[in-house]
């Protein structure tokens, strides 16, 4: 029965192969990828149940014992991450079908999208399930290489430019990860998490601190923690909407997951908590200040993504059960909400052919459905009660206050300020894109000079810009684009998921507390890997 731990990795890879084989038939590809991901969702749900009731589920690949072979482990944390991420992946895949007609036209590399997407899913699953550092590296590489393909999909100028930055940063972080693995192996002679947890404790503190710093640097680049976060807002917004959505939802969270796993299992006596708390506070504040300065929905969302990584890191840095539990809850919440928001941004882009706030307006009247779909996750992200975002932040703030150190209070203050500024950034989007009348009506018959109107501070010469803008709007008014059902339904599903997270928040918080207990206890994981299985 434990063999099902393998399925979340193997099934998507199998599906990718099948998709390539049926590369000529878009319909076959769709059926295969949806079936595979639906299966993975089911398997993850089963794994979650089993991990919760029977302890960590282990399988040793090829029957090799854990310390020399590769093992996959699904404990409560891994299983929860796996379930949330596969549900999100499935919804985004369905969304991409709806968008497919628009984005991936006849000459676009349609046959590549599905296999790559499935490989990405396999990589994410592998990273969540792996029980040793090197397999984690391989999982990261699988998901990174497929993300390279997805972020440069179509090879347009803007995507090549932003993709280059993303790819170079990821390559460098991978090399740093390799160096970290080499050092860990040199110091301990193993890369298995369970075996390492015992051996790292025996190392002199200087050596273990060095190893911890190396691993943290790697994962902080991948999770976009300040000051290693500058690459993210630069590279995400130009990719196609479903790609950005799945990246925003999953890739950084894999980094956070790796931080949680290594911090709790390998370095339980954390000397670097102060450093992590500072990093968390700066990530939150600097990220959200970036969001405030932007005037494009996708870029604002990318910056809020960076900023909210800080919340998760805050929970990890506290190191208490309550902090970890809050962080895990927040990851589950943030994966769904951030993905939904990027999908909605995709819908806005589809409808108005731009996500620039200077050109948007009047969407609340023109597309009430779209407004509701934006409003709910947006308020959720900002942490308005009673949504899960509020509950997650509340849990983290409580954990921070219970820590009784001045730095924790500082970080709590940073968290609250960030929450307010998130509300500000989101309200700006809401006001300008949804409530404020569209630019065309706004400026109709208004012949004010370029310098007297706020919109003209756009940095270009006023006159030509204005005609360009009005013409864009005319096209839109004529078309009155209806949003395709194939894009709306998956978005609604995800909005439903985020509301469902609010409804089941009580049991979910109990579950994350149990997961945090398990992480801090360590013994059940170590016994499951080294003692059992086989």
């Amino acid at each position: 029965m434990n063999q099902i731990v393998l399925l979340p990795v193997i099934l998507p890879l199998l599906g990718a192969g099948l998709c390539l084989a049926f590369g000529r038939s878009a319909r076959a590809q769709r059926i295969i990828s949806v079936a595979i991901l639906a299966l993975v969702v089911t398997v993850s749900a089963v794994l979650l149940y089993r991990a919760d009731h029977y302890g960590p589920q282990t399988v040793n690949v090829g029957g090799w014992p854990a310390d020399i072979g590769i093992s996959l482990v699904a404990d409560r944390l891994s299983a929860l991450m796996l379930l949330v991420s596969t549900i999100v992946t499935l919804c985004v895949l369905l969304y991409s079908f709806g968008q497919g007609i628009v984005e991936f036209g006849r000459d676009a590399p349609l046959s590549v999208f599905h296999p790559t997407f499935l490989v990405l899913s396999a990589g994410v699953s592998n990273a969540f399930l792996s029980a040793d550092l090197f397999n984690l590296f391989v999982g990261f590489e699988i998901l990174l290489v497929s993300s390279y393909v997805l972020i440069t999909l179509g090879g347009t100028g803007a995507r090549v430019r932003s993709g280059t930055i993303y790819i170079v940063v990821s390559m460098i972080s991978s090399v740093v990860f390799l160096v970290a693995i080499a050092c860990v192996y040199a110091a301990t002679g193993t890369v298995n998490f369970a075996a390492l947890s015992g051996r790292i404790a025996d190392l002199p503190p200087q050596v273990s601190n060095l190893l911890q710093l190396l691993l943290l640097t790697t994962f902080c680049i991948k999770a976009a923690v300040f000051p290693l976060s500058a690459w993210l807002p630069d590279s995400y917004p130009t990719a196609p909407a479903p790609v950005t959505a799945v990246f925003a939802g999953l890739l950084t969270k894999v980094g956070i997951y790796a931080i949680i796993r290594t911090q709790t299992l390998l370095f339980p006596d954390n000397d670097l908590r102060t450093l992590l708390l500072w990093a968390a506070a700066f990530t939150m504040v600097v990220g959200i200040l970036g969001a405030v300065a932007q005037s494009d929905i996708k870029r604002i969302l990318s910056f809020t993504l960076v900023s909210h990584i800080g919340y998760m890191l805050f929970g990890v840095a506290l190191g208490s059960t309550a902090g970890l539990s809050g962080a895990i809850f927040y990851i589950a919440h943030h994966i769904t909400v951030q993905t939904t928001l990027f999908l909605v941004a995709g819908l806005v882009e589809y409808r108005s052919s731009t996500t620039n706030l200077d050109k948007l307006g009047g969407l609340a009247r023109a597309a009430p459905m779209l407004s509701v779909m934006f409003f709910i996750p947006a308020m959720n992200l900002a942490g308005i009660p009673p949504f899960s975002g509020f509950l997650g932040k509340l849990a983290l703030v409580q954990a921070g206050v219970d820590d009784h150190r001045w730095l924790s209070y500082v970080t709590v203050a940073a968290a609250i300020v960030t929450s307010l500024l998130t509300l500000y950034a989101i309200a700006k989007v809401w006001n300008r894109a949804f409530w404020q009348p569209a630019e065309a009506e706004h400026e109709a018959g208004d012949d004010l000079g370029a310098d007297s109107h706020g919109g003209s501070m756009h940095g270009r010469s006023g006159v030509s810009t204005k005609t360009e803008r009005t013409s864009t709007w005319k096209v839109d008014d004529e078309q009155q684009q209806r949003l395709p059902l194939g894009m709306v339904v998956p978005t609604l599903m995800l909005v439903g998921c985020s509301i469902a997270l609010t409804v089941v928040a009580g049991p979910l918080l109990d579950f994350t507390t149990r997961a945090a207990d398990e992480l801090q206890g360590r013994s059940s994981y170590i016994v499951a890997v080294l003692g059992g299985g086989g």
């Binding site: 790819i167 170079v168 390559m171 390799l178 192996y185 040199a186 932007q294 005037s295 919109g455 501070m457």
Partner: protein, 169 residues
């Protein structure tokens, strides 16, 4: 374990050269730098695997064996480096096709914000009406100070978001 000094020095030199190249703007040079760092790290794994011994097959000889695990890891790492380098070269070629060079460009929006900051210029979303109101103390500072400077047409390229041909200062 005593590390092998020449190998360690080799790692240092390769990684240092690689880092220098990665800091360049041209994607091709970055890739060469990445390959150098990658190979340096592969050599690091040789250092890590300890002193060389006989082939790691149990029962072949009584001599001490080489540690096979780092070699398995380094093989995986080499394959991954190869794949990523191939992709990077394709990307550099595509960038050259599109723009005639493969230099990594600055982000357009960031560039815009930076130029505004240099000229003490407000953002598009900045509400001018609010700022024009006198503050609590009934400020009587001369109005000219709050006036927003017009961007000289020459500093902002026309086609800023259409193509990124603009050379940056």
């Amino acid at each position: 374990m005593t590390p092998n000094l020449p190998l360690v020095i080799l790692v240092g030199v390769m990684v240092a050269a690689g880092v220098t190249l990665v800091l360049e703007r041209s994607l091709t040079r970055i890739l060469i730098g990445f390959v150098l760092i990658g190979n340096g790290v592969s050599v690091l794994f040789l250092v890590v695997s300890g002193p060389a011994g006989t082939a790691p097959i149990v029962g072949l000889s009584d001599e001490p064996m080489s540690d096979p695990l780092p070699q398995a890891m380094v093989l995986t790492a080499i394959v991954i480096t190869l794949g990523v380098t191939a992709f990077g070269l394709a990307l550099a070629y595509r960038a050259w096709q599109l723009t005639g060079h493969d230099d990594v460009q600055d982000d357009v929006e960031d560039d815009l914000i930076r130029r505004r900051a240099e000229q003490d210029e407000t953002s598009v979303t900045f509400d001018e009406a609010d700022a024009a109101l006198p503050d609590e103390e009934g400020s009587d500072a001369p109005i000219e100070h709050r006036e927003v400077h017009e961007v000289p047409a020459t500093t902002v390229p026309e086609a800023l978001d259409a193509d990124h041909e603009d050379e940056l200062p």
